[in-house]
Symmetry: C2
Subunit: 345 residues, 2 copies
Amino acid sequence: MLTNRQQLILSAIVEDYVRMAEPVGSRALAKHEQIQFSPATIRNEMADLEEMGYLAQPHTSAGRVPSQKGYRFYVDHLMPQDPVELDSTAEALRAFFTQRMDEMEQVFREMSTVLSTLTKQTAIVLGPKMYTDKVRKIELIPLAKGRAVAILVTDTGHVEDCTVHLSEDIRVDDVEFIVNVLNDKLVGVPVSKLRSSLYSQLAEELTKRVERYEDVLAIVEELCQVGHREEPVYIGGAANMLKQPEFHDVEKAQPLLSLLEAGHTVTRWLPLEGLGIQVRIGEENPEGPLQDCAVITATYSLADSPVGHIGVLGPTRMDYGRIMKILEYTSRTMTNLLTQRMEGN
Amino acid sequence: MLTNRQQLILSAIVEDYVRMAEPVGSRALAKHEQIQFSPATIRNEMADLEEMGYLAQPHTSAGRVPSQKGYRFYVDHLMPQDPVELDSTAEALRAFFTQRMDEMEQVFREMSTVLSTLTKQTAIVLGPKMYTDKVRKIELIPLAKGRAVAILVTDTGHVEDCTVHLSEDIRVDDVEFIVNVLNDKLVGVPVSKLRSSLYSQLAEELTKRVERYEDVLAIVEELCQVGHREEPVYIGGAANMLKQPEFHDVEKAQPLLSLLEAGHTVTRWLPLEGLGIQVRIGEENPEGPLQDCAVITATYSLADSPVGHIGVLGPTRMDYGRIMKILEYTSRTMTNLLTQRMEGN
DNA sequence: TGTTAGCACTCTCGTTACATGAGTGCTAAA
DNA sequence: TTTAGCACTCATGTAACGAGAGTGCTAACA
C-alpha cells in the first residue's frame, strides 16, 4: 500500500511531531538523518500521504500532522519493534517493584503515580477484580444494637466489609450459628458464585434453626454485593494533562478532568477487551471528550487469568512506542509480583 | 475604624465582585439599591478604602477589587449573619442526608461530590480519625504460607486490614492463641493507645506460650500502624477549579490540581485547628499555589468530640456567606448522622 | 462641610493594517 | 525520477487607532 519511502516519511513525521508538538514541514524532515531526499520530494510524498488520509494540515501553509489513521498505521506497522532499552525509566520501575510493599492498595496507588511520572501522562490503574477469588473466611461482628459489620476475606488476602442490619433481639449464639454455617458452606466458593451458592446451599440449613429468615437473607445479600463490588480505580497525574500543549486551552481540558474525576466510570471507556496491550486512538474512543486522546491499556494477571488493568491516557500525539513498552514491562512485573505473593513469597 | 458608609460600600463591592468576577466601578455601585450616593462620592470612599488596604485596583482605569484584607474584613464583620434560607441548596443537602447509606466510605465520597456540586468549587472531605475509636475485635487469618491478614474492627464499625508475615511453621493453635490474647487484652482500648497498651499488657502473657516472640511483636506493630493510619481523603469537583475565570490560565491551575492530587498532603495545608468554621484567605494559606485561594473548613463530631473535617477550596473571590452556611449545615447534619448511627439508629 | 457634576486623563480591549516567515504546490530543468 | 525555483497562502507579531469604562481632581452646590 505505502511505499517504503512513504512509510519512512510517515514514521519520521509521527516521531517529530510527538517530540516537538508542532506541525512538521518538509524542510525540517529533510534534515533528518535517515532521509536523504530534498524537501521537494518530501513535499510530493506528503501530498500523497495526505490524500490517502494519513496526514492532515492544520492550515494551508503549515507543516503536516499525523491523522488518526496515520497514528494507527504507525502503531500497527512502523513503530520500532525491537526492545530498545528503557534506560533510566526501566531503572525507576525496577526500583519501584523491588520496594517492599505489603499493602496492595498502596501498591496500586503508588503505581499510578509512578506510571504517570514516567509517562508524563495520566495513569489509570484498576485494582484486581475479585471475581476469581475464593472465600477464605466470613465474619460477622455485632456493634451497637441492630447493627453489625460483615467481613469477607478472600484467599488472596482481599478484605471487604459492609454494614448489615440485624433484628435488635438477635441472640449471640444465633450470630455464632449463622457465621458458622456461612463459613461451612461458603468457604472456597468464588465470590462471583456467592449468590448462586447462597440459594442452593444455605436456604434449608438456616431455616432449621433461625426463625428470622429474612434477617439472614439480608445479610447474605449484602455479602453478595460485596463480592460484586466494583474494582477500585486509581488515577495518577491527572494534572499532567494540563502540561500537554493540546490542553492548554481550558475548554478542552475541563471535560477530560471531569471524566477522570468520575473514577468509577472509567470502565465504560477503557479498552478492556482482549489481552495484551490495547491502543485506542482518537475517534476510536467512545466518549466525546476522548476524541482527541489516545488510551493505551494492558492487563495484569494472577495465576494465568487476567485480573486487572493498567492504562495511560494522553493526547493522540503521544510516544506510543515508549509508553507501550513501559506498560508492557509494568504489567509483566505486576503479574510476577502478584503471583509470587500468592505462592507465599 | 471604617465608617458605616465605607462598610456598606466595601460590602457591596465584595458581593458584586463575587457575582460578576469583574472589577466593580463606581457607576455600577451607584445603581445598587442600598446605595444612594453619586458615583463621585463612591469614588472618594473607594480611594480611601484603597489607601487603607481594603481594595485594590488591577490597573489605573479599572474598577476596584477586594484585597485579602478586604475579604477578611467582610468575612469578620460585614457578612450577613442571619440565617438566610438556603433555598434549593438546603433541599439538596437534606435529600442527600436522608438517603439511606450504609457504607460510610460511600457517604464521604458522595458528600464530596454533592458539596462540590452545590458550591461549584472543590470540596475536600476528611474521613474520621479513628483515634478515639475503641478496639472491638481483632482477627488474624492465615493465607498462603507465611502470610496472614490481620483485621481490626472498631466499635464504630470501622474495619482496617493489613498483611502480616508469620513464620512458616507457626501452628494453627498458636494463631488461635495469639488472637485470643490480643482480643482479651486489647478490646476496648482506644486505637490511639494501642502501642502503649501493647507493652504494658501483652509482653509477658505471650512469652508464656509462644516461642517466636518477634513474630508476634511484628504482628502487633502492624496493627498499631493500622490504628495510626491516615484518615482517608475524598476530593470532589477538582475540575470545577477550571471553571473559575481566575484559573482559566492553565499556569495558575496546574499547580493547584497537582496539590490536590497528592490527596494525603491536604492535612498540611487545611486549617484544622480549632472548632467551628475556619476561613483562610489568600496569603493566610501556607502553600504557594494557594496564595490566591480561600479555604473554608468545618469539623464534624461524634459524641461531642470532633473526628473529621469537611472543606471547600476556591479562588479568594468566593461566596463566603453561602459556602460557610452550607458547610455549617453539612457539618451539623453529619454530626447527627454519625451520632445516630453510633446509638444504633 | 459634605456631596455632586463636569471634565480631562489613563488604560484595556478589539479592530485593522501590515510586514515577516514558514511552508506549500506547481512547473521546468537536470 | 528527482530537484531547484518561484509564486502563493496563511499564521503570527507589531503598531496604530478608536471606543469604552473608569478614575482623580476641581469647582459648584446644599
